[in-house]
Amino acid sequence: MLERRIKVNVERQNFELQEGIYTQSYEVPVMDGMMVLDALNYIRDEIDSTLAFRWSCRMGICGSCGMTVDEQPRLTCQDNLNEYSDEISVAPLNNFPVIRDLVVDIDDFMQKKLPSVSPWLIRKEEAPLDEGEYLQSPAEMAKYADNSACINCMLCYSACPVYDMEPNFVGPAAMALAQRYNLDSRDQGSGARYSVLSGPDALWDCTFVGECSVACPKGVNPAEAIQRAKVEAAQRWAKSIIMPWSQK
């Protein structure tokens, strides 16, 4: 079998080697079934040990290997080189500050945005243990199942022009996760979440570009989740105007 060689153009930032953003090209032999991440690992192991990038599980579940491949946000461990030509570009995710090379800073999401929507089940009062589990029917689970597949890979933020222009924008994954809990029959905390969602830099800043849902590698549909949350938030608002006493 003829060996296929591809050229990988990596967009780098490493001030110890060179100031500013620069591109470095590497030749990588590829075998059938190799992913973009495998090519990067080859580069680091065989050619240039200074290249920095993040990965862990190589099976699309840890969410740490997101990068911009040929100008599209991709999960590189799931991104088959067979689908690309013999020259590809790899760059860090868009819209995030770069720490080094292909590694971006997602602290803001992890430490502020994600916790801000309380992504856990909230109960007004926990049922006593001897009452057993909270039961849920398959139909009730289906309401939020899609939104629960998120692996926090940040591809949706990278695809989102609103986030590019407003770094404080709560953003697609966090709002989809808020909906994941809002729609859970066991949850009772949607009131608190809606006050965040309906507040500044959240639902009402979304202009429904829809690119988050295209970018998501896990079948989450943040654009639709946000749209549904807007409808619900607007209804809650109208209700609070028409029937102020209904506020709990």
Partner: protein, 135 residues
């Protein structure tokens, strides 16, 4: 080089051009969709102007009408028409996301919503245009 032990974080995002919406075709369609608001506003202003002329009396309204039959005006209105059709198509395509839940409270598959949306649009348009021609 920074002194030993000290890390320097690069804080530059990848630069993004002002014409980011040309980067892929979905962004471009999005931008065209949003830009339809400008020609539509043009039509709204035209209506307002017509209303002003209308309340100023028959002759002033009719002078506007005859001005509007010039090729330039027709061309402008044809452009606005194209923009408004683009608005209708993109709006109806987005309807399955959110609207049905508002009405019936449950998730509905997109196909019937899309079909209903386009069918209603075409029917309503047909009725309006036919009535106006037949008057």
């Amino acid at each position: 080089m920074t002194p030993e032990g000290q890390t320097r974080r690069l804080i530059s995002k990848r630069p993004k051009p002002r014409s980011w919406w040309l980067l892929n075709k979905r962004y471009t369609i999005y931008m065209l969709r949003e830009l339809t608001a400008i020609p539509l506003l043009g039509f709204v202003l035209l209506c307002l102007y017509q209303l002003i002329k209308l309340s100023a009396g028959q002759s002033s309204y009719e002078s506007l009408l005859s001005a509007m039959s010039s090729p330039a005006w027709i061309l402008i209105n044809a452009f606005i028409l194209v923009a408004s059709i683009l608005h209708s198509v993109t709006w109806i395509l987005l309807m399955p996301k959110g609207l049905p839940e508002f009405i019936v409270g449950i998730r509905v598959p997109p196909a019937p919503v899309l079909f209903g949306g386009f069918a209603t649009w075409i029917a309503v348009s047909g009725i309006i245009v036919t009535i106006c021609i037949r008057l």
